[in-house]
């Protein structure tokens, strides 16, 4: 029941958190988080969030993780070997001044372990991305289970 309410709250309340007029962008202090998305995920599984992070400030910004539904989001890096696919927790990743960092499938992601509800395609939710000491509130687009990119990938915002 709690999970259902949380799910409903996250999905219905998402527009209220908008930091800009563009739902695909969250920004502060020269840091922008754009096109956050995740494939549909069942309750209890791990959700992986992908995004583009732009640092137009004059200083390097460290991406350390985030938060969703009161739970920690871990920064994870992908590896593939004879044992199969694996995601390893990373302590943080610098985004150099004037540079961009892409969190993309089978490379980098923010991981929400054991999601408390189903993340269904078409719905949106809100997460917090911790980068450069900022907590950027970003809208997440939930794609199909086999999605490989954000619906607005390639668009300039």
């Amino acid at each position: 029941m709690r999970a259902c309410l949380l799910s409903l709250l996250l999905i219905v309340a998402a527009p209220a958190f908008a930091e800009t007029h563009d739902d695909h962008v969250a920004e502060a202090e020269g840091l922008r988080v754009v096109h956050v998305w995740t494939p549909a995920t069942g309750k209890g599984s791990d959700a992986l969030f992908y995004m583009e992070i732009e640092n137009s400030s004059a200083a390097e910004a460290m991406l350390t993780g985030g938060e969703a539904g009161g739970q920690e989001l871990e920064l994870v890096g992908f590896s593939y070997g004879a044992a199969g696919e694996a995601w390893t927790v990373l302590p943080g990743l610098p985004v150099p001044a004037g540079a961009e960092l892409d969190l993309e499938p089978k490379v980098l992601a923010l991981r929400w372990s054991s999601v408390p509800m189903d993340l269904v395609p078409g719905a949106e939710l809100e997460i917090e991305v911790e980068v450069g000491g900022q907590h950027l509130h970003a809208h997440v687009e939930i794609g199909e289970a086999g999605a490989t990119g954000h619906s607005h990938a390639g668009h300039n915002h």
Binding site: G44, G77, Y80, L90, L93, L101, K106
Partner: protein, 435 residues
């Protein structure tokens, strides 16, 4: 419940799944045989129709073996190709096809590629967090073995301590892969290019002496001859990356005197550094990628093919078993008089049912067991052939997917075996006795 299942170790999940798959068939068997002892009679039937039984068992074994062999082989190929790429953390190359660069740099399938220039290499090698950046310069060969220019750091990174000898110390020395065609102490002159069209005399007058041999890596590099990258540049009449009076080999190179390299293997000092470096060198004039990611995407594309193969394997098995069961129904007609006599002397219908079912079950279980062995043998033989052709070490062993396939097959076919047993007891007693 889903959380409890997710919390179980993988081996426990696999074991429980195998048990769940085989349980219905075994349960049916336990119910059919409960309180009865039909096995002596079944043994007699197996002996009496030994040739036909052997044929049925062989049919089932071939179909099970086909499925088991296909699954094990596909997994072996996937793991072998992934293992071969494990040491290639991050590749930086000129913009182009990631797949082409991966095939060239990891699996030594060379193709024409633009070069990473000296200044670009210097930027990569000097980037923060880079433990080493090794040029991978291919294009020459000797007796079919690729001759690859690189650095001593790469040799150690790829194969660990040498199995024999020492790493190259001059631009005229080389380290041989574990199965390369030149022994330690031997010399060779590389041919320009690969395959039948390679120009054998293009580098006449240049020669490398092998000073060491790598331990096996299970990758195409086991057949390669690794030379200092300076040697590759020199035999092609190019500057060797160092000032004319500088005789040392290895980085740092003078950017203006470095002719360029098709690919650079980058190894970061810290794990996270690989991701930061990939981001840094993904730009308009350079391409950075993880071979593991590209390989995983390729294997992902093959997942549908794998699913189709698995389905076809199961269907083949079921069809073969169906034909065996039809054969059994015909056999039951032939032994109808014996079964009728059994009933006439007082055997209960359930006993006759149990005899026919147990007879079918014996054929199915023998065929499945033999099929497992056959599949394992076939997978091993194909693995050896693939390894010989590609130099990627492919080891196909039986695992849980095969166990699940066979468990599901046994369960399904033991259920299907109820049909001939049911038909046997439905036959008219008097007619069969008069036959």
């Amino acid at each position: 419940m889903a959380e409890l299942w997710a919390a179980l170790p993988n081996a426990a999940q696999d074991l429980l799944l195998a048990l769940a798959l085989v349980a219905p068939g075994l349960l049916a068997g336990a119910l059919v045989l409960r309180g009865l002892r039909p096995l002596p009679l079944v043994g007699a039937m197996l002996r009496r129709f030994a040739f036909v039984n052997a044929l049925f068992v062989a049919l089932i074994a071939v179909s099970v073996g086909l499925g088991v062999g296909l699954l094990a082989q596909e997994r072996g190929l996937r793991q072998g190709s992934a293992r071969a790429a494990e040491k290639f953390d991050l590749i930086v190359a000129a913009p182009g096809s990631e797949v082409t660069v991966m095939l060239a740099a990891v699996y030594l399938q060379p193709s024409d590629m633009a070069l990473v220039t000296g200044p670009q290499y210097a930027e990569i090698a000097g980037a923060e967090g880079v433990a080493f950046a090794a040029p991978i310069a291919f294009g020459d060969s000797f007796q079919g073995a690729p001759v690859v220019g690189t650095t001593a750091d790469f040799v150690t990174h790829l194969a660990g301590p040498l199995a024999e000898g020492r790493v190259f110390a001059t631009s005229e020395e080389a380290v041989a892969g574990a199965f390369a065609p030149v022994a330690v102490g031997g010399s060779f002159t590389p041919a320009h290019g690969h395959g039948p069209m390679a120009e054998g005399d293009a580098h006449e007058g240049s020669a490398y002496t092998v000073t060491g041999r790598m331990a096996p890596t299970g990758s195409p590099w086991d057949r390669a001859l690794l030379v200092p990258v300076e040697g590759v540049w020199e035999v092609h009449g190019l500057a060797n990356g160092h000032a004319p009076d500088d005789l040392r080999i290895g980085p740092p190179f003078v950017p203006e005197m470095m002719p360029g390299t098709p690919a650079v293997l980058v190894h970061a000092a810290e794990l996270w550094g690989n991701y930061a470096l990939k981001s840094r060198f993904t730009r308009s004039d350079l391409m950075a990628f993880f071979p593991g990611t590209v390989l995983s995407q390729l294997h992902g594309l093959m997942r549908d093919v794998r699913s189709a193969m698995s389905l076809m394997a199961v269907l083949t098995q079921v069809l073969v078993t169906l034909s065996v069961l039809i054969g059994l129904m015909i056999l039951v007609r032939l032994i109808a008089r014996s079964l009728a006599l059994l009933r006439a002397i007082g055997a209960p219908l359930r006993f006759v049912f149990a005899v026919v079912w147990a007879y079918s079950a014996a054929l199915i279980l023998s065929g499945a067991g033999l099929g497992l062995a056959l599949g394992w043998g076939a997978a091993r033989a194909i693995s050896a052939a693939v390894t010989a052709r590609t130099d990627v070490l492919v080891t196909a062993n039986l695992g849980w997917p095969e166990a699940h396939l066979v468990a599901g097959f046994i369960s399904l076919t033991l259920f299907m075996a109820l049909l001939p047993a049911w038909l046997a007891v439905r036959r008219p007693l008097l007619t069969d006795l008069r036959t």
